[in-house]
Amino acid sequence: MTPDPALVRELRESLGPAAVLTSAESRVAFECDALTAHRQIPDLVVLPSSTADVQAVLRVATRHGVPVVARGAGTGLSGGALPVEGGLLLVLSKLDRILEVDPRRRIARVQPGVTNLAISEAARPHGLFYAPDPSSQVACTIGGNVAENSGGVHCLKYGLTVHNLLAVTLATSDGELVTVGSPTGEEPGLSLLPLFTGSEGLLGVAVEVTVRLVPTPERIELLMAAFDDVARCADAVGRVIASGILPAGLEMMDSLALRAAEAFARCGYPQDAAALLLCELDGLNHDVEHQLRATATLLEECGATSVRVAADAAERARLWSGRKSAFPAVGRLAPDYYCMDGTIPRRHLAAVLERIDAMSKQAGLRVANVFHAGDGNLHPLILFDAGHEEELHRAERLGADILELCVEVGGTVTGEHGVGVEKLGPMCTQFGADELEVFHAIKRAFDPPGRLNPGKAVPTLARCADYGALRVHDGKLPFAHLPRF
């Protein structure tokens, strides 16, 4: 769709000609985020360089009644930054200044386009770091992290993005600035900071973020335990947690994932293992020493065939490299893969993995499992060939089945990747019509005209009616009271 020339002219007048991209070559680079199955070339791309620019864009968009989709680095895995037809894409990558690192208050105040890793790098000289570490941390931006409430390998101990924020200044859809949260960590009134965090760009555009920094631990150790049985490995996860040890990270890979990672990263994983557990412990010297022994003993009791402690920082980095490159590594096994993100109560780990295995066999598609076991956040990777349309549909069906299984055992359809456009259907499984109506009302409270990232994150009830019609279980029709379209 060609944008209204008046809209383009007003944006150029406000931001300067270079900040508004209209040519086909420049726009195509923004057609998708890391969920490449969904693509839409934006009609118009705008690159603000300041908070005032962002406000100006929102005001112009309001005048013209144009939808606005905010985008950081485009590393999101659920299509949250997928352009909307007829809208403009607000790319925040030029707002990349670290405004303040204050070691006394242990905070950093940054613009939304600053990368996750850049914050930790700026804090490092002060013996501090920013804890949430999504695997895309080299590229992903803090604005995107706030929008998605991103997690990472270390959130078992250090929490998600929401636990590491103090305040966010956001621009509402009409360009007004509002600050949620407080530099004190205790905002007066209702807790709007957590409501905004993870709202996937539907409630406002973050223009300034104040994060908490934490002291670098005195000692870090990494244990690698191999198991010849997936269920035994899964049970070991619960035993470690129940023993009173809180690892900084507790990650699991099944044999398909660990062999792919080994082939990709040459990181030293035992090739014959059915499952692998990586357990990182950090803290004070003596505490880590104590936990290291206790954990090693416990893992052996749980039936680990080998338990290895990384000898030094280099080996630790090597063992982590396999885990951190597991997605691309698995990606080499098939033309395409589909990454799921359900979270389940840990006690169901073994049973759910077994069910996924059975479902994978029935669907005739391989599934590799690599995930944050400590907090029950699964990442089954479904391998398929999108070149065969039937296989794509089969992969999507299997994915939906897996997410429904997560909900069935008391979990959620997305632990850290967000709903975006990808999980709108499965959202209908997790929430009833009343909850979804509340979500839509919250959207209207923040963004009355529905201008920001429309159509994402929360399915319409009509969509759920359609989705339910496709997925009738045991004769029970979800959203049975709703009219079918």
């Binding site: 204050d102 070691p103 208050r105 242990r106 959130c155 929401v162 636990h163 509402t172 007004e176 509002v178 949620v180 407080s182 530099p183 004190t184 960590g185 205790e186 905002e187 009134g189 209702l190 807790s191 709007l192 957590p194 409501l195 993870g198 002291p215 670098t216 619960g238 035993r239 129940a242 040890i245 809180l246 004070l284 010297n285 003596h286 104590h290 979270t343 389940i344 109560p345 840990r346 006690r347 907090d375 956040n377 008391g410 959620t412 997305t414 632990g415 990747h417 967000g418 709903v419 999980k423 959202m427 997790q430 909850e435 509340v438 009302a441 919250i442 409270a445 923040f446 994150a457 929360v458």
Partner: protein, 351 residues
């Protein structure tokens, strides 16, 4: 597990109140009525809706009906070597877990563990129009839908009657030790700032009357090392001391009205007039008595003040958010309680 599910009765009461537009004062153990603006309305008793619904130590989650006594939750956790990391005050034996979440109060461990809302994973809530809704869940990571559950923490019941809460819990440490140092308030703040920048396992701090008390947690060996690095003397009956701070039984709080609670950014200086004060949370939470000076002191450093206990009902208890934020408050109230019958005015006249 034992308990009683009173959802149906509560739904009927709220529906009826909404139909008549008759305000309700939501009551758990009625231990924190002193906090917030006065609510005129019929009592809606939640205490009968009680019982722990599920607790599996390996999951690090406990789910309980809102009327469950806080003491029951805490003793159940303690029996399995776990605890509520934010160490909530109860302000009375009758305190319930629902009231605790609704008031959003955290205790001495807040400085290291973070606030209550960080641990609230999910809620079942009864809205003003009589709907029972579920937000969040029992898992650690959940980004499906807006985080309505955490918004209920500290909402004082203005957005709904909490029916059930799921809280993340953590293992209790192997050992704990409290060390005291003789320091004046200014020296204490400097010391706290230095300690907070280290990786030492400082989990609570309290300065008052010339003494800085510091609680550390970890293995016995770690605590020995901490003791030699920090100096000072080891406090006997440390549990009793921290309980007295948490529950306001410490002599500092006795018969001291009006009592102000100040939240200030880290490393904020001591206000010149604030000599009679009790400082917690590594300097982030400060208690003072009397006047309106605390309001100005906290505002000057970008903090906020709450009139925690007053000698007479007052109009303004909590600091007021900016007008644009307050408009959002009102719109959220409209969503969850369109007739305005749930604890109206408890926080602000607008909600």
């Amino acid at each position: 597990m034992p308990g009683h599910d009173a959802t149906a009765e509560l739904v009927d009461r709220v529906r009826e109140a909404t139909a008549r537009r008759a305000p309700l004062r939501i009551v758990g153990g009625d231990t924190k009525r002193f906090l917030g603006r006065d609510v005129q309305g019929d009592r809606l008793e939640v205490a009968a809706h009680c019982g722990i619904v599920s607790y599996d130590p390996a999951e690090l989650v406990i789910t309980a009906r809102a009327g469950t006594p806080l003491s029951e939750v805490m003793s159940e956790l303690a029996a399995r070597g776990q605890r509520l990391p934010f160490e909530p005050p109860s302000f009375g034996a009758a305190a319930t877990v629902g009231g605790t979440v609704a008031c959003g109060l955290s205790g001495p461990a807040r400085a290291s563990a973070g606030p209550l809302r960080d641990y609230l994973l999910g809620v079942r809530v009864l809205t003003g129009d009589g709907k029972v809704l579920r937000f969040g869940g029992e898992v650690m990571k959940n980004v499906a839908g807006y985080d309505v559950a955490r918004t209920m923490a500290g909402a004082f019941g203005t957005l709904g009657v909490l029916l059930e809460v799921s809280l993340k819990v953590l293992p209790a440490p192997p050992a704990t030790r409290t060390i005291a140092l003789e320091l004046d308030a200014v020296e204490a703040l400097v010391r706290l700032e230095q300690l907070a920048a280290t990786a030492l396992p400082l989990t609570a701090s309290c300065w008052t009357g010339g003494t800085l008390s510091l609680r550390f947690e970890g293995t016995a060996r770690t605590l020995d090392e901490v003791e030699s690095r920090v100096g000072g003397w080891v406090v006997e009956d440390a549990d009793g001391f921290w309980r007295s701070v948490r529950e306001h039984e410490h002599p500092f709080f006795r018969d001291r009205l009006p009592l102000w609670r100040l939240h200030v950014p880290a490393a904020s200086p001591l206000a010149p007039a604030a000599t009679d004060t009790l400082i917690e949370w590594n300097g982030l939470q400060r208690w003072c008595v009397g006047g309106s000076q605390p309001l100005f002191d906290s505002a000057a450093v970008g903090g906020n003040a709450t009139l925690f206990r007053a000698d007479a009902p007052v109009e303004g208890v909590f600091a007021r958010p900016a007008p644009a934020l307050l408009r959002l408050h009102a719109r959220l109230k409209e969503i969850f309680d369109p007739a305005g019958v749930l604890n109206p005015g408890r926080m602000y006249a607008e909600i």
